[in-house]
Amino acid sequence: MNGAQLSAAATVVGLSIQEGLRRRVFLAVLVLTVGFLALYALGAHFAFDDVDEFAAGETKILDPHAFTGATIFGLAMFATLFLGAVLAVFLTLGVVRGDAESGLLQPIVVRPIGRTTMLVARFAGAAALSGAYVLVVYFAAWAITKATGDWSPDHLLGPALGLALAVAILAALSLLASTVLSVTAQGIVVFMVFGAGLTAGLLAQIGNAIDSDSLHSIGRTASWALPFEGLYTAGLHALISETSGLTGVVLQLGPFGGSEAAGPQLIAWAFLYLTGVIALAAFLFSRRDL
């Protein structure tokens, strides 16, 4: 890629971000986020208060602070992933087929920038915006948890980056869908895929709990096929990976998807997967008549 193409790509990234910030969905997500964080602060305050009273003077077989902190912060991670997914999907809604049908794409595609560069730039814009959003919400939730209950996860940064990578994968899947599907179908399909991934994670955890190898391996295979789910459950696991005893065991069965350890292979696979999805989207876009 030469300097002119880089400059053109940066222009498209900037345009995507500007366009994303102007979309009403961004404002809606911001309002929802503020609402969620306010409710989360209120909930965290009462949860830590109640658990202090409940646990006072008893034999502590469960660490009430760790249990409460990890449970509500797991909820925050789920909400962050969900809101990040909504943002990623809406920022990439109709990027190829939708924009082509409305005539928005053609004036840009005929410029020397090239279709692949344009697509990658659109992805970069959406991933940057939704990734930044996820990081801000995650650390806001952490600050609230820390302030209200003085609890911090065992690992703070890893799960945050995992969530950002997860929404980048969702943005890439949405972009891929936009090369072949109409706007409505694209939104429906990507949210169904998102739901399927989370369900696969839950299945794997249920399989683990009832000691069903088949269910566990089906769930794990599905969550590797949709690695945003693997990154999410790995993030949940990293929150409590050094929490020992019964607290650690109970927390692994968290209510918003079970946690499951994952090594660097998952990160490598997630990047490979992301590259593959974007390459496939670029291939389909290059073959498309506009």
């Binding site: 222009t11 498209v12 345009l15 053609q106 005929v110 410029r111 020397p112 008549d289």
Partner: protein, 281 residues
């Protein structure tokens, strides 16, 4: 001698079972303004889109300034305005041109943007948002956008469809100026009178094939000589200006009194209707 700016050879395009183009040959030279006519669905827009790399041909060859259509070099040499286009409504006219400046790698900067907006008489609307513009203003802005980077080939698909008579005149004069600067223009239009007024060359496509091509004057040849005689109007079909004196002499010799003679030409519309066989898309 430099080759044609746009060279289309044996071009075919098939959409599933539908043959949109069935072997079209066309050339547009520098400084030439070529009008592409044909009924809806004839393949005009498909040809234009193939030339700018938006659609892939099924067979044949299209070159823009010697480079395969769709290649970066070919795209860098052309400007395009689609029949159906939309610009981000939140951008102002100047911001839109600046966006296309960056995308095209043009170094014209603010002076070029001002000049282009002036050319399409939108000089006062530089700060106006696209969403606040009328369709006609957007179409003129689209033409200005297509001219960014001083393209050698301009592909315009129905560029005056939303314009009022004044807007059409502005575009007509602009195209004539561009021709003077050596820009090659391929103009898709349904407005035969407009094409007849400004185009050097006309190509008529029907059913995916080039059915007629030539200069407007050449295509619209002599149709008839009409003589007003003492016994009424006498029409001599197919006769032209050269035949008129002989026709009058014969009539006078035959004892007719001749009061007037008119040499009629077929219009581009007559030629068009004959070429497409009255078909509409």
């Amino acid at each position: 001698m430099a080759g044609p700016v746009l060279a289309v050879s044996e071009l075919q395009k098939r959409y599933g079972s539908q043959q949109a183009l069935a072997g079209v040959d066309l050339e547009v030279e520098a400084g030439q303004l070529v009008g592409l006519l044909g009924p809806n669905g004839a393949g005009k827009s498909t040809l234009t889109k193939i030339a700018c790399g938006l659609v892939r041909p099924s067979a044949g060859r299209v070159e823009v300034v010697g480079h395969p259509a769709g290649s970066a070099r070919a795209r860098a040499a052309l400007g395009y305005l689609a029949e159906l286009f939309r610009f981000p409504g939140w951008l102002t006219a100047d911001e839109l041109l600046r966006l296309h400046h960056r995308l095209s790698g043009s170094e014209g900067g603010a002076p070029e943007r001002r000049q282009l907006l002036g050319l399409v008489e939108l000089g006062d609307a530089a700060g106006k948002r696209v969403e606040a513009m009328s369709k006609g203003m957007q179409q003129r802005l689209g033409i200005a956008q297509a001219l960014i980077g001083s393209p050698r080939l301009l592909l315009l698909d129905e560029p005056t469809s939303a314009l009022d008579p004044v807007g059409r005149r502005i575009v007509r004069e602009l195209l004539e100026r561009l021709r003077g600067r050596g820009v090659a223009v391929l103009l898709n239009s349904h407005l035969l009178s407009e094409v007849e007024l400004i185009c050097d060359h006309v190509a008529i496509i029907a059913g995916g094939r080039l059915v007629k091509a030539g200069t407007p004057a050449g295509l619209a040849g002599a149709a008839a000589v009409v003589v007003e005689t003492g016994s009424g109007l006498r029409t001599f079909e197919g006769a032209g200006r050269e035949e008129a004196p002989g026709i009058v002499a014969d009539l006078v010799a035959a004892g007719e009194r001749v009061y007037g003679v008119e040499v009629r030409h077929s219009s581009l519309e007559d030629v068009y209707l004959e070429a497409v066989g009255g078909v509409t898309g």
